[in-house]
Assembly symmetry: C3
Homo-oligomer: 300 residues x 3
C-alpha cells in the first residue's frame, strides 16, 4: 500500500484504521488481534485513537491486543488525541464537558494513553479540537517535554481551521504533521473553506474522519443524500463496483491534498472495501459529477 511520508523516519499507510467504535464491537482480545493483523496484512499499519473514544475505553481494549501480541507494536503507527474533557465513570474527576489543552492535562493524557495502549511511545499526538482557551505557549512546552522524553514522536491537530493552525504552529519548533478533519463527498466544508488549501500550503497531509459521511449517503432520504447516492451508484457502475463506499473513498483519494481516509469499521469486508478503492481511478468528469451532485449545482 502507498505510504505517506511525514518525517524522515515516520510514514503512514494511505488508509488508516480508526478505533473510534472499538468498544461497541464487543470483541474479545483475540478478535481484536485478528482485526489488527488483517489490517496490517492489507498494508494498513496506522491506527487512529483518542483518549475519549468509547468513554475512555478504546485505547485500553486496543492495548490488550498489543499486550497479547507484543510484536504488533513495531509493525504499526499509533496516533492518539487529547484535549477534550468528558464526564465519564472512567474519569470521575471530570465535572463538566469542556476542553483542556493545558500543559498538565496534555502530559497526563499522554501518560494515560501510553498506559492504556501498552506502549512506551505514541507516533503522533493530535490536539483533538481547537480550544478557545488554548495557551499556545503551554502546548509548546508540553510538546517539547513529550518529545524530549521519547513519549511522543510527532504532533498534529484535528478539526483546526486556518487561523487556529497558523497560530499554534507559530509557537512550535517542529512542524505539525497532519490535520485530521471531516472530509467526504457529502461534507465539503473543509474543501470549500480553505482548510485543505492551507494544509497543502504547509505540505501537510490530511487525515479524513467520516470519509463515508457516517452513513448519511447510504440511507439518507434528503435530496442531497439521494442525489449523491444516485451519482455514486452510476459512477460505481462505470468503475465496475456496486459498492458506493469504494467510490466515496476513491473520490477523497483523488484529491491533491493527500488525504488519508480513516476506516472506522471492525468488519474485514468494510476494511477491504477501502483498500479496493485504491485501485479505482476516477476521471475528472466523474470526480466533478460527484461534486456537483453533492453541491446541488455545477461549479461556476
Amino acid at each position: 500500500m502507498e505510504r505517506i511520508t511525514v518525517t524522515n523516519d515516520l510514514s503512514f499507510s494511505r488508509i488508516v484504521h480508526g478505533a473510534w467504535r472499538l468498544n461497541d464491537w464487543n470483541y474479545t482480545t483475540e478478535q481484536t488481534v485478528s482485526l489488527i493483523e488483517h489490517c496490517i496484512e492489507q498494508g494498513i499499519t496506522t491506527f487512529d485513537h483518542a483518549d475519549i473514544y468509547g468513554g475512555y475505553t478504546c485505547e485500553e481494549l486496543f492495548g490488550r491486543a498489543i499486550q497479547a501480541n507484543p510484536g504488533l507494536r513495531k509493525r504499526m503507527e499509533l496516533v492518539t488525541k487529547c484535549g477534550i474533557v468528558l464526564e465519564s465513570p472512567n474519569r470521575p474527576e471530570h465535572k463538566s464537558h469542556h476542553y483542556n489543552t493545558s500543559k498538565e492535562h496534555i502530559i497526563r493524557s499522554v501518560e494515560n494513553s501510553l498506559s492504556s495502549l501498552k506502549t512506551d511511545y505514541i507516533d503522533t499526538l493530535l490536539i483533538h479540537r481547537p480550544d478557545p482557551m488554548m495557551n499556545p505557549e503551554e502546548v509548546a512546552e508540553a510538546f517539547s517535554e513529550l518529545k524530549d522524553s521519547g513519549k511522543v514522536r510527532t504532533f498534529g491537530v484535528s478539526n483546526f481551521k486556518r487561523h487556529q493552525l497558523n497560530m499554534l504552529q507559530s509557537y512550535l519548533d517542529d512542524k505539525l504533521i497532519t490535520n485530521q478533519v471531516e472530509v467526504s463527498a457529502y461534507e465539503l466544508e473543509n474543501i470549500q473553506d480553505g482548510t485543505l488549501d492551507l494544509c497543502m500550503e504547509h505540505r501537510m497531509p490530511v487525515m479524513a474522519w467520516s470519509p463515508l459521511a457516517g452513513g448519511a449517503v447510504f440511507s439518507g432520504n434528503g435530496e442531497k443524500a439521494v442525489r449523491l447516492r444516485d451519482t455514486l451508484t452510476k459512477v460505481g457502475a462505470e468503475l465496475g463496483t456496486e459498492d458506493i463506499s469504494e467510490v466515496l473513498y476513491a473520490w477523497i483519494l483523488k484529491h491533491p491534498a493527500t488525504i488519508m481516509p480513516i476506516v472506522g469499521s471492525g468488519k474485514t469486508a468494510r476494511i477491504d472495501s477501502a483498500v479496493r478503492a485504491l485501485g479505482h481511478k476516477l476521471s475528472l468528469d466523474q470526480w466533478f459529477e460527484i461534486l456537483h451532485a453533492s453541491m446541488g449545482h455545477d461549479v461556476p
Copy 2:
C-alpha cells in the same frame, strides 16, 4: 493613459478591453481591427481573453484581426485564461462541464490559444477559476515549461480567494502578477471578504470583471439597484456627467488596490466612457455615499 507596471518588462493599460462577447457582436475582421485600433488610440493596449469565451470562438475572431494586421501584436498585451472545461461543438472531446488544471490541459490550452490568437506568446496566462482538484505541483510545472519555452511571459489567477492564492503562490517560483475578480460598486464581495486586501498585501494589481455589474445597476428594479442608480446619478451630476457608467468606473479607479476595469463592449462610445472616467476624481464623501447606497447602510 496611466500604465500599471507588473514586471520589469511588462505593464498593462489602466483600462483593459475584454473580448468576452466578441462573438456576439458579429463583426467582420475589418470591424474587429477598427475596434482594436480605436482602443489602442485611446491608450487601451491590454486585451483580455479566455479559451472558453464565445464557446471557444473569441480568441479565433481576435486572431483574424491580428493576422490581417500583424503590426497590432507588438502594440498590445494579450491576457488569456485556461482551466474551465465546457461542452461545446468546438471541443467534441469534452464530455462534461468541469475544471481541469492538470499540466497537460494547461499546456494544450495555451497551444490552442496561441494558434487561435495568431501569436507566438501570451503576455499573461490566468487560471480561470479556483479548482478544488488543482494540483499545485502540476500547475507549477506547466507554468515553468510555458515560461521557459517563451510561450507565456507571466502568470496570474482569476476569482481566487485568499487561501487559494496563497496556496498556489507557495508552489511557484515567480510571483502571480494579478487576480482578476468581479468588483463593482454593486458587487462588493471581494472588497468585503479580504480578497483585495490580500492582493494589496502581495502588491498585486487587480483586474475587475463586470465593473458595471453587468447592467444590473442600469435597469434593475430591486431596492439596491434603484438606490445605487439614484446615488450614481446624483454624483454624476456633481461631476458634470449624465453617464453613470463613468461614475461606476471612477469609483473602482479610486480604490487603493490599483484596479484595472475590463471594458467588455464593442461600441467605441462605451469604451470612451471608461476612458473619460479616468478624468473624474471622486471625493471621499462621494465614494462613501456610493458605498453606502450599495450596502444599504453607512459604515459603522
Copy 3:
C-alpha cells in the same frame, strides 16, 4: 496591577479606562481629575480615547484635567484613535459620515488630539475602523512622520479583521502593538472568527471594548441574555460575588490572548469592580460553562 509590555519602553495597565462617554457624565474638571486619580491609585494608568468621542469633545474635557494637574501626564499612557469622519458642529468642514485614513487626515487628527489633550505626545494611535479606501502607503508615511516628530510613540488598529491587519502590517516598519476589538462573554465574534488567533500569532495583546456587552447581559430579556445572566450569577456565587460584571471581566481576563478590558465608567464603584475581577480565577469548568451559556450549546 499587572502590566502588559508592548515595547521596550511602553507598557499598559491590564485594566484600561475608556473616556468614550466622558462628555455624558457632566463632570467638572475637578471631578475628572478625581476620577483619573482614582484610576491611577488603582493601577489603571492607561486611558483610551478617540477624536470622535462625545462628538469631538471628550479629548478636550480630559485635556482640561491634565492642564489643571500637569503632573498627571507622566503617570499615564494615552491611547487615541483617528480615521472616522462624523458630521458635527465641532467639525463644520465635515459634510458626511465616512472614513478618512489619508496621510493628511491622520496627521491633522493627531494635531487636534494633542491640542485637545494638552499633551505633546500620544502613547498609542489607533486606526479606528478598517477603511475600505485605506491606502496603506499613506498610512505608513503618516505613521513614520508622526513617530519621527515624537508626536506618537506607537501605533495600532481597532476593529480590524485578519486580512486587514496583515495587509496594513505588511506596509509598516514597526509592529502594530494592539488591536482594539469588541470582546465579551456575550459577543464572541472576534473569538470565533480568528481575530484573536491572529493577534496571538502576532504576539499582539488585545484591548476589549464593551467587555460588559453594553448592558445587554444585565437587563436583556432575550434567551441568550437570560441564559448568560443566570450562569454568570451562579458562577459569581461560586466565586463569592453578587456582581456579575466581575465575572464578565474575569472571563475575558482568563483568555490566553492577553485581553485588556476597557472600563468605560465614570463611577469609581464600577471601576473598582473591574479591578476586583483581577482577583478572581475562573476554573476551566466555569469558563466553559459561561461560553456554553453564551453559545446556547456545548463545544463539540
